[in-house]
Amino acid sequence: MSTVVTGPGRKAGSFLHRHPGLRLAGFLSAPLLWLVVAYLGALAVLLISAFWTVDGFTGETVRAFSLTNFQTLFSEEVYRNVTLRSLGVATAVTVICMLIAVPMAFFMAKVASPRSRHWLVIAILTPLWASYLVKAYAWRILLANGGPVDSLLGGPGNGPGYGLVATVIVLSYLWLPYMILPIYAGLERLPDSLLEASADLGARAGRTFRSVVLPTLIPSVFAGSIFTFSLSLGDYITVQIVGGKSQLIGNLVYANIGAANNLPFAAAIATVPVLIMVIYLLAVRRSGALEEL
């Protein structure tokens, strides 16, 4: 405080100090612009174009409001089936990830020594660095007719082969880290003294797990499920690689953008998983899962 430095930089800094609103605006305007224009804007365009149609003769997009796309979507059975199938796959993947992740995360956070804990976190994260395609094709080889999985199970045809089961297995493998990490983080925040208090009050391990660990874990599990569920719902590559002839919502979107050249209909299909995710997020919001992300 003994020397007061003056200069243009100092003056600007001093001016901003007296105007916190301006400071905040300068800090946030660029990222907010990005969020509104690139992210929400794209979503808005998607929603709007879902109500457009494509002229059957010229292939030109007709920019006029019409409910045709949604009528097709809801009336034709194939779309309902694909939606239900995608929901089933996403649910199965989420449940499998949950069943594997809870004991793994518990071991990492509460049983393993602090040293091995670091290595385990690294081991969980490393597969995320490998390309998605490489991992999917690796599974294609594993699951091939007469491949390693088949011979492990006793001979060709004994494994799941390509199909929905294979898709669920590979998606579970791919998204498992996204389930483990929030549960691990949640468990790390669970004080050991709570587990000790439970044992102290007479509860055995199973009881402690049910009454103390699981309830505090539910928000973390929901947080992880938001990842596994939405990633599975939007996937269309894994199912192409190991899914055999099965189709999910993502495949329909892809096909309408490419082969069918019907962007408005693709947009209409794409609103289905968006809608499902919004409903899911609203449902889990009450559990406090969104604070765990």
Binding site: S193, L194, E196, A197, S198, A199, D200, L201, G202, A203
Partner: protein, 355 residues
């Protein structure tokens, strides 16, 4: 010590090492039924580890733990008739206060109505009736502390373990809780084992105190015994403040060999009149010195005196008369005390402690 044939707790040759670190290096102790027993020591002295071995959270490296005559050394926490009040209270955040208190009863299969009644009773005993439907997060530190106490007491354990339960409370609340804890203990008649690093707390509440020093017990006794007749210079320094004189200084001051402790409040301070022997206390020894520091602390004033014979002494005088202190910095003064207040310390430990 204890006369009862089977003590509530008996620890024999108890040791605990974490890897290469020895936390507890041999503890033998008997705690009587219904006793309020404190384990006092600096952090890292092993007192909490001993508590955790009694609770069953840690397995001893060697030695045994007996509860009410039964060997529980290798038993899990849920197999022991012991409950713990944790330092961070460890209340279950997803349960209401009532559910927290009922947890131990529920786990043991006590019926719903009996559970309700006992939980209400326990909450009333810690003056928290009407708080049953709250969440722990909606309560103050002192209230949570009492919930933790009710949650442990509702199970009517043989022994209640308390791990620095008042550490997180502010001074006023802590003093209030000290009185309440003591009253509750007298009422329920359960053995309390209380871990603390606060000597005031230990002296105020306990029937007996064990002073811990680097993994072992330095002294066990009533608060008065531990305070008035410390068994080592560590105890003299840790339990209250003490002037410890040893070696050359002791010989110069007291004319005797050995280690001696004199409590600051037992020393009388008077201005040096220049007449040798003319000191305040009859039958007292008088020593000249210069005031190095005067610290005003409300009810008392602390004087740090540089003794002419070498070494320093701390004197505490009550501020009974408002106005000028007994002496100012740089004043020549005389210290006097009754010889009976000089405590000879067994010379097992040699370091000088001026805590």
């Amino acid at each position: 010590m204890t006369d009862s044939p089977t003590p509530a707790i008996r620890l024999t040759g108890l040791r605990k090492s974490f890897g290469a670190v020895a936390a507890v290096t041999g503890v033998d102790l008997e705690i009587g039924d219904g006793e309020f027993f404190s384990m006092l020591g600096p952090s890292g002295s092993g007192k909490t580890t001993v508590l955790r071995m009694i609770a069953g959270f840690e397995l001893p490296t060697a030695g045994t733990v007996h509860l009410g005559g039964r060997d529980v050394t290798r038993l899990a926490p849920f197999e022991r008739d012991v409950n713990t009040v944790f330092q961070d209270y460890a209340l279950f955040p997803h349960m209401t206060v009532r559910e927290n208190v009922e947890y131990g009863l529920k786990v043991r299969g006590v019926g719903r109505s009996a559970r309700r009644a006992r939980a209400a009773e326990a909450l009333a005993s810690v003056r928290l009736d009407g708080f049953g439907d709250r969440r722990p997060s909606a309560m103050s530190g002192g209230q949570r502390q009492r919930v933790a106490l009710a949650r442990a007491l509702v199970n009517r354990p043989r022994v209640l373990l308390l791990d620095e339960p008042l550490g997180a409370l502010d001074l006023k609340l802590r003093e209030q809780m000290q009185v309440e804890l003591k009253a509750i203990q007298r009422e329920v008649g359960i053995t309390f084992v209380f871990v603390t690093h606060d000597q005031d707390e230990a002296l105020t509440m306990s029937d007996r105190v064990a002073v811990f020093e680097s993994g072992r017990i330095a002294q066990v006794g009533t608060p008065a015994e531990v305070y008035e007749r410390p068994a080592s210079s560590f105890v003299a320094g840790f339990v209250g403040t003490s002037n410890v004189f040893t070696g050359e200084v002791a010989r110069g001051l007291l004319g005797r060999d050995g280690t001696f402790s004199i409590r600051p409040e037992k020393i009388d301070l008077s201005p040096d009149s220049g007449v040798p022997g003319a000191v305040g206390l009859p039958g007292a020894v008088g020593l000249p010195g210069v005031v190095a520091e005067v610290v005003y602390a409300g009810p008392v004033t602390r004087y740090v005196i540089d003794l002419d014979a070498g070494s320093r002494a701390v004197v505490v005088a009550q501020n009974r008369h408002h106005g000028a202190p007994l002496a100012a910095r740089g004043d020549h003064v005389r210290l006097s005390w009754h010889d009976e207040h000089v405590v000879e310390i067994p010379t097992s430990s040699k370091e000088t402690a001026d805590a």
